[in-house]
């Protein structure tokens, strides 16, 4: 076995040192009825690297890769171009095969990277501080709701109808078991957000209001007034960002007064990866930092007075506080955070602004082109790189017909809201810098053909 260095001579010598006659002696504490003597039957035996690679490559080829043709899917996962150096650097063994940096003297690489990541995320989202990342956007969103409950001592959360349905679904699952009260509903096909209505429904029981920006239908709006309404009522405003590239062009939630900003950082550095692993972003105002979940990296000095970094404020965490911890979360998404941070460093502010502008322009061009098709219109008045098309017929079958013709044409609201017939004609279309003019033309022509 190529990953196992012990030889049979080694094993014999080691058993002798231990004073055991056979390996079975080391498993004596396993009750006889639970002990397996030979390999488990019905499973294949070990295989060569070539054979395994061949098997996995065959499975990979059964998927259509996003890069195989015109591609317009978003809805919480976006296809951006990732510079080659990002993937090269995250595969350096010193990053890839390191553990959580609990021994800071020999983990300054990871720790400094996390400090840089936290600083980048806080600035991008417009907040004071950010943590070292969460599993993903949806779990970060739930943790933010729990954090708001801890801070306000209230248990009612108002969810905007524009929140990603999976994020809402995660929150509903958890709230069922934790006693949190959620007020939520499906979106309606309107050009504007429900934020004004949310501001009017805040009462003294509300712990937080959760809005997504840009939202699931691609709509963008100013949350300043909503933030003021939250503050007046003693509730927190939680903003969710699933497309961080947008913040190169539009105001950050923090600038508009959001108390906690969470999101999905997959757009930068990570890639689609069929939904995971991704990187959850979690940021807030300084005054709430001790209520934050997850890992935090902070600056300090070493015994010789040199600057260094450590994981800090860990009394919030499970390995110290056990059942009194702010969350049960143990890991972060370190390697994905590294990918995000490297990509952001390569872009820099100038590059991010340019990337965002290109995304927006490309999406506007696509929206204009698609709206020329008879019976098709664009719902949004404002959007970043994603918008909702209204088709003259149900979108779901259209998606499959488009796929047959080689076009992956977005995410149907029928898939996201299967029980809501009123949304069935909606199609959410994302357009990033990876989409060419030819892709847009092909999409428009094929959609016209399918709808005819």
């Amino acid at each position: 076995m190529r990953y196992l260095p012990l030889t049979s001579d080694d094993r014999a010598a080691m058993l002798a040192t231990i004073g055991a006659s056979s390996i079975d002696d080391l498993f004596v504490d396993v009750p006889a009825e639970a002990r397996l003597d030979g390999p488990i039957t019905g499973l294949p035996m070990h295989a060569s690297e070539l054979a395994v690679e061949r098997h996995m490559a065959a499975l990979s080829r059964q998927n259509r890769a996003a890069g195989d043709g015109p591609f317009f899917l978003g809805a919480g996962a976006y296809r951006h171009h990732v510079p080659a150096s990002v993937d090269h650097l995250i595969q350096r063994g010193e990053f890839l095969t390191a553990y959580t940096p609990y021994q800071p003297e020999i983990a300054q690489g990871t720790l400094q990277m996390l400090f840089e990541f936290q600083s980048q995320v806080a600035r991008l989202l417009g907040t004071d501080v950010a943590n070292a990342s969460m599993y993903d956007g949806s779990t970060a969103c739930w943790e933010a709701i729990v954090m708001a409950r801890r801070i306000t001592k209230r248990a009612k959360a108002l969810l905007s109808t524009g929140l990603h349905p999976h994020y809402r679904s995660v929150a509903r699952t958890m709230a069922k078991y934790t006693g949190d009260v959620l007020v939520d509903a499906d979106p309606s096909l309107e050009a504007g957000t429900d934020w004004a209505a949310l501001a009017d429904s805040i009462d003294e029981e509300v712990s937080c209001v959760v809005v997504q920006y840009p939202d699931i239908l691609g709509r963008i709006d100013d949350m300043t007034k909503l933030a003021e309404a939250c503050e007046a009522a003693g509730a927190l405003l939680i903003a969710v960002v699933t497309e961080p590239v947008a913040l190169g062009l539009i105001k950050s939630p923090g600038e508009m007064g959001a108390d906690i900003v969470v999101g999905e950082g997959q757009s930068l550095g990570v890639g689609l990866q069929f939904g995971g692993p991704y990187v959850g972003l979690f940021a807030c105002k300084t005054k709430y930092v001790r209520q934050m979940p997850g890992r935090l990296c902070g600056e300090t000095v070493d015994a010789n007075g040199k600057r260094g970094f450590v994981l800090t404020l860990s009394t919030r965490e499970q390995h110290i506080r056990r059942e009194k911890a702010t969350s049960n979360i143990c890991t972060n998404s370190g390697l994905c955070a590294l990918a995000f941070s490297i990509h952001m460093t390569l872009l820099g502010e100038a590059g991010l602004r340019q990337l965002a502008a290109i995304n927006h322009a490309r999406a506007k061009a696509a929206a204009t082109e698609l709206a020329k098709i008879p019976g098709v219109s664009v719902l949004n008045t404002g959007f970043f790189n994603e918008f909702t098309l209204l088709l003259p017929t149900e979108a779901r079958p259209v998606i499959h017909k488009l796929a047959e013709k080689g076009v992956l044409g977005g995410v149907s609201l029928g898939r996201l809201y299967p029980d809501n017939a009123g949304l069935a004609n909606g199609l959410v279309v994302a357009v990033t810098e990876t989409v060419t003019e030819a892709d847009i033309s092909a999409f428009a022509a094929t959609l016209k053909e399918v709808l005819a």
């Binding site: 990953y3 196992l4 012990l6 094993r11 010598a13 009750p31 639970a34 397996l36 030979g38 499973l43 294949p44 070990h46 395994v52 996995m56 065959a58 990979s60 998927n63 890769a65 919480g76 996962a77 150096s85 650097l89 010193e94 095969t97 553990y99 959580t100 003297e105 983990a107 690489g109 400094q112 600035r123 599993y135 779990t139 699952t173 105001k251 069929f274 939904g275 995971g276 692993p277 890992r295 600056e299 010789n304 800090t312 110290i320 059942e323 009194k324 911890a325 049960n328 979360i329 998404s333 370190g334 390697l335 820099g348 100038a350 590059g351 602004r353 927006h360 499959h400 992956l408 029980d419």
Partner: protein
């Protein structure tokens, strides 16, 4: 810049010492005007009115060459499995095969969107299904929930299954019993899901006290969370008796599968009465730890808990596969407790774990467990008489060897031994865990270490233990040869600096 000099410091102009290179922060070396990415077009003008971002963001950029150098220099300040033995107990820091990385990057896996039409991602569903079948077979369980994102998330999944099962029976049980030696995630998870946590005491030999457990069982107990093999490195001999006792009062058995590497292919938790167990793919199945994630924590379930498993999951349908999500749960899976995460789980880890499993096969995995246990026992017995091993008489250890700080010179601690190991070129073992042992040192060599590597490590640890027993003052200030000396963690917590300030 090199400021204050330590005892072994030799000042250089740059603060570098040959290959030990200092590296500034991107905020100190980058600029907001610099970018390492070229675009084919200038930024088009946008008309976003009042929503346009006008104020500076403050994100520094570097050219590509500077970026590669910055991160490469940073990487060299990290210890990693690729550099040497990483004996962290309970973490299973085994070699991360590079074929796993190659496979995960195949375009059909890496460049596929989770919401693509199902007919275009049958290969991805096939991977999930194939890995699921392996996990079910290896554990002897009924089914598996694949979506949990990490070990603790898997714990939450198992605990929610238990909660849902109790609800379905119309019962409101509030108590989860957890051994004193458990990982902190266990009580935290139970509390996060609204349970009250009570400790189960351990016996003198480091195992769950079965009599004390039985005495506490009753109609208010929802279940127990047991780690097996446990965090003292021992197999819980009474596991089946524990399960039977818990089941007899209507409770459920959660097993923390962090230490599954010791028994994979040799023992099936399903044969021991376990109802739910998470499997850390980043431990037993070699997916990279990545400096702190991403992990992956699928949860195998007994027949009793299977109906409550979370959405989504993959089922085989004729020749192909189908994803069961919210919309078809009603007909196929009406008792599901719901969704735990957006999309379908850690696909990138599934491809890596399946690649690893297929490489080893059933025979290789059994060998993995045997070599992991052999290596740990070799470390334990080789250090007898050097370090105190509180449970050495409790039988063979499994995948990890536990030592205490008993017998060190006055004023010397486990921390000093850990920092001394750094100077010897090793990452320290897990320290001060489990809490049931004073100054605990938990050593897990894993199966991917050679005998020669173990012999050198044993020699180094023996040498440091002797220095700690003899009161060598130099050990108190170790490490001396790392990129940094001991860091002031108190200062970091008292005056938190968590982001760069211009």
């Amino acid at each position: 810049m090199n400021t204050a000099g330590g005892a072994d410091d030799t000042t250089t102009f740059t603060g570098n010492r040959a290959l030990m290179l200092e590296e500034a922060l991107i905020f100190e070396i980058g600029s907001t005007e610099t970018t390492g990415v070229d675009f084919d077009e200038a930024a088009p003008a946008a008309d976003l009115g009042a929503l346009a971002r006008s104020a500076p963001i403050g994100l520094p950029g570097l050219s590509e060459s500077e970026t590669v150098r910055h991160y490469t220099r940073l990487s060299r300040q990290n210890y990693a499995i690729d550099l040497g033995l990483f004996p962290l107990g309970s973490c299973t820091m085994k070699h991360n095969p590079r074929l796993n990385e190659k496979v995960a990057r195949m375009p059909g896996f890496a460049d596929a969107h989770p919401l693509q039409p199902q007919e275009t991602v049958q290969g991805a569903y096939a991977v999930i299904h194939e890995l699921a079948e392996w996990l079910i077979t290896l554990t002897g369980m009924h089914s598996v929930a694949m979506s949990p994102k990490a070990g603790a998330h898997g714990e939450l999944c198992g605990i929610l299954c238990i909660k849902a099962a109790l609800e379905a029976r119309g019962e409101d049980r509030r108590v989860i019993l957890v051994p004193e030696s458990a990982h902190g995630t266990n009580p935290a998870t139970a509390a996060f899901a609204g349970f009250t946590v009570e400790d189960i005491p351990a016996t003198e030999e480091g195992r769950v006290n079965l009599e004390a457990l039985k005495a506490r069982l009753g109609p208010d107990v929802a279940g127990v969370m047991i780690t097996n093999p446990n965090t003292c490195g021992l197999f819980e001999r009474d596991m089946k008796a524990i399960s039977d006792a818990v089941h007899a009062v209507g409770g459920y058995v959660y097993c923390d599968g962090a230490n599954f590497n010791a028994i994979v292919g040799r023992v099936r938790p399903g044969d021991l009465g376990v109802d739910a167990m998470h499997i850390n793919l980043h431990k037993t199945f070699s997916t990279p730890h990545g400096g702190g994630g991403p992990g992956s924590g699928p949860v195998v379930l007994s027949e009793a808990l299977a109906p409550f498993a979370p959405l989504p999951f993959v089922t085989k349908q004729g020749e192909g596969f189908r994803l069961i999500e919210e919309e078809n749960a009603g007909e196929d899976h009406p008792q599901t407790f719901g969704r735990m995460t957006a999309f379908h789980g850690q696909m990138g880890m599934f491809t890596r774990a399946l690649t690893y499993i297929l490489s080893h096969g059933a025979d290789g995995l059994k060998q993995v467990a045997e070599d992991a246990v052999l290596n740990a026992n070799y470390v334990l017995r080789s250090l007898e008489g050097v370090l105190d091993a509180p449970f050495a008489a409790s039988g063979p250890c499994m995948h990890e060897a536990l030592f205490s700080d008993k017998g060190l010179a006055e004023g010397f601690s486990t921390l000093d031994i850990a920092k001394g190991l750094i100077d010897e070129g090793y990452h320290p073992m897990t320290v001060y865990f489990p809490l049931v042992v004073h100054g605990a040192m938990l050593v897990e060599p894993t199966e991917t270490e050679s005998k020669a590597a173990l012999d050198q490590f044993i020699g180094a640890l023996r040498s440091i233990a002797m220095r700690a027993k003899n009161g060598d003052p130099a050990l108190k200030t170790a490490p001396h040869f790392a990129p940094r000396g001991r860091l002031d963690e108190t200062l970091a917590a008292r005056k938190p600096v968590l982001a760069w300030e211009d």
